[in-house]
Structure formats: structure tokens, C-alpha cells
Amino acid sequence: MWQELRNELHPLGLEIVTVGLDTLGADACRPYIEAAQPEHPSLIDTHHTVAQLFGVVNIPNSVWIDELGHIVRPAEFAPPPRRAERPPRPASNAPVPERALAMAAEAAKIRYDSGPYHAALRDWVERGAQSEFALTPDDVIQRSRPRGAAAARGHAHFQLATQLELAGHHEAAVLHFREAQQLVPDNFSYKRQAWSLEPGPAGPVGRFWQGPADDDPDAWPYDTDWLSEVVEMGGENYYPEWKA
């Protein structure tokens, strides 16, 4: 999805670095990366270090860095260049679970306008520090996510969780994922990561189910799930409006 933009802007001096956030690592990211055939660095972040380092809270999020290594825009929502093509519906008469229908209904409300962000990106690539979209160092710091003692502790819990998950201690990991969710509530990828590690139905919907199983809802170890959170916020509010 981003390769076309890279083709356009790389000759003008921009490099793109994609960072796949997934505790399941390269194997889980591989099909998507191989399909995209990126010419730019495409990295795997099993512990979501970009959340701690830059304040990434959801996907897609971006950070802009200039030639000298100065951040000129902190982590923010980065609307994709165009809407991803939806895969064709499978020609099947099998009943669709009610939850999947409800999720699709919320997902259909998700809106974003790519125009202003991409115009700003092109302006910065062409004009550098003269671009009004390149923020001053003070503004960059002030616009970065708020972080108090509770959130800092939540980030440590998240890293413990991902390390425990990688070591095969799933139940122990869940306890720390829960702490991270409570202490860093604005980080939606922390939540989705944890939810996606719970069993979902067989097939492509599996890791996107992210909620209680129909046949054993009491086994769900979290207080919320994708559908309940998105219904609460309203699918139309899923992405914040991009602010120049």
C-alpha cells in the first residue's frame, strides 16, 4: 500500500521504514510483507518498542524524521494513501457469526480523509524545514503523547507480557497485558495485540475476532474486546482527524 508512495517520494529524498507490530514476529508479518514487495526497510517489532520510543498508539501511525535525525512530527495517525481493497467475499452459504456481522458493521463506519495528510507529507518532502508541517522541537515534544508514572509502568508491563508470551508462558503474559491495557488505555495496538493472541475461529477471521468465543465466552480473559470498545467509541471515531 505504501510502496507506490515510496516510488514517488524516494527520488525526492524520502525513505519509508515500515514497522510490523507483532509479538508473533516475522512469521506472522511475512505474508503481508512478501505480498507488498517493499523496496524500503520493513522491520519486525515483537515488543512494540515504537510505542515506548515514539508514542505509537494505533496503526497506521507515522513519525517524520528529517535529514539530521530530528523528529519533525511525533507519532500520529497516518491515513493510508488509499483505502485498501477489500478481499472479495467468499462464495459460501455457511452462516456468518453474528459477532462477525456486528464487527463488519462497525468497521464500515470507520472514516478517514487521506488528502490533507498526504499533501502535507509532499510539502515537507519538497520544502523541508520551510514546510509549515515540520514542527519545531518544542512543538514536537509537546505534541508527543502524555506519559505519567502510570503509563510508564504500563509500558514495562507490556514488555514483560510480550517476553512471557514469546517464552510460552501465555497465562502469565495475560496478567501483564491486562495491566498494560489499564495503565496505557490510549494505546489501542497494545489491546489488539493481546486480544489477537487469544484463540479465534478457524480461517482468515481468526486473529481479527479479538473477543469472546461464541461457544465459551467465559474463557475470555480481558474486560473488553474489539467489538465492545469500537461500539463504545463509535466506528466513525476510530481514527482521530489529522491535525496540521
Binding site: E15, I33, L43, I59, I141, A149, R153, L160, A172, R207
Partner: protein
């Protein structure tokens, strides 16, 4: 940063946190946090002492022998400085990539996920 013990080496601490250990304390950008002499003994860093004196949270999972040191919350913001922190991550083949290798170009970091 993740640790197997409450002590580590100076270079691992600096790479893991982005903070540099200097005579005046732990420093990042324009911020320097004073540390007692017991924090650093040669190349030997006592992370418990640093956590206690800086407010960086330190968690310990005793059963599995894992420690996690969280970020400094003292400024109230994620970024302490507008200088990009070093980011070292592997690609699909396990080759480590350093963000700083792109100095001289503009960089757009894009986070995504397959779930």
C-alpha cells in the same frame, strides 16, 4: 528495556533506554537525572538504583526471571527530546537495521500490524 537480571552493562543500558550515563547522571537531550555513585561501578549498572532515583518503573517477574525497565515519566510526555532515538529492529530475515543508518535522508516511520 527487558533484562535477565537487575544489573546490566553500561552499553546495554544505554542501548536499551537511550539514556547516556555520565558523571552528572543519566542524560537524554537536555535532561540529566542525578544518580548516586552506587548506580554505576565501572561497566556495571545497578538498574534498581537507577529506577529508584529516576522514577523509571522497574518490574520483576520472579517466577520467570524477567525484569522490565519502563520509560522515564518525569517530563509528562513521551518525547524527552526531538532528536530521534535510535531504533534497532530486525527485518524478515533477522538482519538488524538501525534507524540512524538513514541519516541524510528524510524518514517516514510507519507502524502497521497483521491483526
Amino acid at each position: 528495556m527487558l533484562l535477565a537480571a537487575a544489573t546490566t552493562t553500561r552499553s546495554d543500558f544505554e542501548a536499551g533506554t537511550g539514556w547516556t550515563l555520565r558523571p552528572e547522571g543519566a542524560c537524554l537531550g537536555e535532561v540529566c537525572l542525578p544518580l548516586p555513585a552506587s548506580a554505576l561501578d565501572g561497566d556495571h549498572v545497578d538498574v534498581r538504583v537507577i529506577a529508584e532515583h529516576t522514577g523509571m518503573p522497574l518490574l520483576h517477574d520472579e517466577q520467570h526471571g524477567i525484569w522490565a525497565l519502563g520509560p522515564w515519566p518525569g517530563s509528562g510526555r513521551t518525547l524527552v527530546s526531538a532528536d530521534a532515538p535510535e531504533l534497532r529492529l530486525p527485518d524478515l530475515d533477522g538482519n538488524e537495521f538501525s534507524l540512524s543508518s538513514l541519516r541524510g535522508q528524510k524518514v517516514l516511520i510507519l507502524a502497521w500490524a497483521p491483526y
